[in-house]
């Protein structure tokens, strides 16, 4: 007997969305399975937040469909919303209430009763216990962000979408946050996250979709994308770059020159070029293939056309 098809946690089918002057989403389709830890990556303005807004019913697609746990986000909006928890990208808060009141309020909007113990647990994992009775106005940006995460979890939605949940959150708390989210994922919650910290996506997510200009330019497992990006990065601090390598050098924020090489085979010729042109290398740093490289390769201005060809 054939097994029944598994219900997707999130299904996006051929969604288009335009704003005046911008095509924010251009025939986007993707499917996230239940229990996945999924990353939605892309440069600023790629359409990530727009896609999330459509999933959450905050925006309506011009065409195409979106489903959460099989519920259409328009036709079955109530069921779809009940199945979804969203951490918005913008740092929003209601200045009238304390942290605990915010969470209780949000729980009551979803018709959840007796959420006290769960709210205590959320507060604990987000390191907000001692801020529970503090007014939202009096919190730092990172704390407000964590309350937003808490608000998305109060009704224990099967699908949790986090739009840059760690922006502005310090390193230690970021770790705690991920530990908590990973636990939720182990317990069966589907997690979708967007982030500009690519190493987070690399460490946490099994699969990645990369958006660029409203199109999906890559949709694969993290492992496959890393394999595609097999190569190394070299950062060299020097006064100049040898003539032959000038076209491949990218000036880094540190002032050093960055090179992306196909493999270690290219390293020797690069160093030889420096030696032959008599340029002293002050400092050198090697990096292995990472998601950032794959990301740059797939989203750089020249990449999309190469990919499409």
């Amino acid at each position: 007997m054939k097994p029944e098809p598994v219900l997707a946690a999130v299904e996006v089918i051929d969604v288009c969305k335009s704003f005046p002057n911008v095509r924010a989403l251009d025939h986007v389709s993707l499917r996230v399975e239940q229990g996945e830890f999924f990353a939605l990556l892309g440069p600023n303005g790629a359409g990530k937040t727009t896609l999330i807004s459509i999933l959450a019913g905050l925006a309506r697609a011009d065409s195409g469909q979106a489903r959460i746990m099989g519920f259409d986000t328009v036709a079955q909006a109530r069921d779809a919303r009940l199945s979804l928890g969203v951490v918005p990208q913008e740092l929003v808060f209601d200045p009238f209430f304390t942290v605990r009141e915010m969470l209780e309020l949000q729980a009551s909007y979803y018709g959840v009763r007796g959420a006290g113990a769960w709210i205590d647990e959320i507060l604990h994992h987000l390191d907000l216990t001692d801020k529970a009775n503090t007014n939202m106005r009096a919190l730092s940006g990172g704390m407000k962000r964590r309350v937003l995460v808490g608000q998305a979890l109060v009704h224990r939605p099967p699908v949790i979408v986090l739009d840059e949940p760690t922006a502005g959150v310090d390193v230690e708390l970021r770790q705690n946050l991920w530990t908590f989210i990973k636990r939720l994922n182990r317990e069966g919650h589907t997690i979708i996250l967007t982030t500009h910290y690519l190493e987070e996506a690399e460490a946490l997510c099994q699969r990645v979709a990369m958006l660029k200009g409203g199109r999906v330019v890559a949709l694969d497992t993290t492992a496959n994308l890393l394999r595609g990006a097999s190569g190394i990065t070299v950062e060299i601090a020097a006064d100049a770059v040898p003539e032959a390598w000038r076209g491949r050098a990218a000036v880094q924020a540190t002032g050093a020159f960055g090179f992306t090489l196909a493999g270690y085979g290219e390293l020797e010729p690069l160093l030889a070029a420096f030696r032959e042109s008599g340029i002293a290398i002050a400092e050198m740093k090697l990096g292995a293939a990472d998601l950032e490289q794959a990301f740059l390769r797939l989203t750089s201005p020249t990449a999309a056309t190469a990919e499409a060809a």
Binding site: L58, D79, G111
Partner: protein, 291 residues
């Protein structure tokens, strides 16, 4: 994951089609367009909490400023203005008008400022994300506006008692008073909701307030009987919906009015339905709330 977090309104967890561990698919349960579920109750409570937390500004201040109107106008005008052929003293006449004016202005202020604030702060997403229907949003915002309006009106009525005497300001027909307080605050609460959704910044709302609400209330016969106006202004008053709300409300107090109170009821009912339909339509289509 399985411990007690129960949902209201018959939420039966439905197993996903294929077995796979994790949180069960949850369904909201049966919900018709016109039913009011837990989301409504929560939002209504929150909206009431919102104004009561700053009661000094939302209840006390308007009560006091309305009292000032009474003191100043009744002092200045009482010897010059005759209303209902002198059957009712001017201060006594003024009270129901001021009470109703407070009800109307504060009902409008509540829903419009709540909407515009949460839109400007973007915290409106907190009520757009949960499964709260358009009708539930509508009822929560309008009912809480009515509660604030009626609370301020009640406050104004109580505080003016010592100035005009309890005997003079106890309503003759309390049911009429109640009907017009409810109808009038519903109209202005709904208008506030529409204005709050439509406005993109505080300036827009100020336009609404200064060019529609204020002139219409002041020209509605709060301070005079329209029979004392020249014919042109008298005729114009009949196009002002606020006139009917105030006149009908006043009928409840004195059994006297400029026009038949049933006509006022009809006008109020018409505006409740018309504005309600507009507001519900705006909410259902997500006008200016959902992109």
């Amino acid at each position: 994951m399985s411990d007690a977090v129960d949902r209201e309104d018959r939420a039966a967890p439905v197993a996903p089609p294929a077995t796979r561990c994790g949180p069960a698919v949850v369904r909201a349960g049966h919900h018709s367009v016109w039913s009011l579920g837990p989301g409504f109750k929560a939002l209504f409570r929150k909206e009431c909490l919102r104004f009561s937390k700053v009661a000094l500004q939302t209840i006390i201040a308007p009560v006091v400023s309305t009292l000032l109107y009474l003191l100043i106008f009744s002092h200045v005008l009482s010897s010059n203005v005759k209303v209902y052929d002198g059957r009712v003293g001017y201060a006594q006449f003024l009270v129901p008008g001021l009470v109703m004016m407070a009800v109307l202005q504060n009902a409008f202020a509540n829903s419009s400022s709540s909407l515009i604030q949460s839109k400007m702060m973007r915290s409106i997403v907190f009520v757009l994300l949960p499964p709260i229907s358009s009708f539930e949003l509508f009822c929560a915002y309008v009912l809480s506006a009515m509660v604030r309006g009626v609370a301020v009106g009640l406050g104004v009525w109580l505080i003016t008692l010592p100035f005009v005497g309890a005997a003079a300001s106890v309503p003759e027909h309390p049911l009429w008073v109640l009907a017009f307080a409810v109808g009038g605050s519903a109209i202005l609460g709904t208008l506030g909701l529409v204005a709050g959704i439509w406005s993109e910044k505080f300036d827009h709302l100020a336009v609404f307030q200064n060019f529609i609400i204020m002139p219409l209330t002041f020209l509605s016969g709060v301070f005079y009987s329209i029979h004392s106006l020249p014919p042109f202004w008298q005729a114009l008053s009949y196009f002002n919906p606020f006139f009917y709300m105030i006149d009908g409300f006043r009928y409840g107090f004195f059994g006297l009015s400029d026009i038949n109170p049933w006509r006022s009821v009809a006008v109020v009912a018409f505006f409740v339905i018309m504005l309600g339909a507009i507001a519900l339509r705006m909410l259902a289509t997500g006008y200016k709330l959902r992109q």
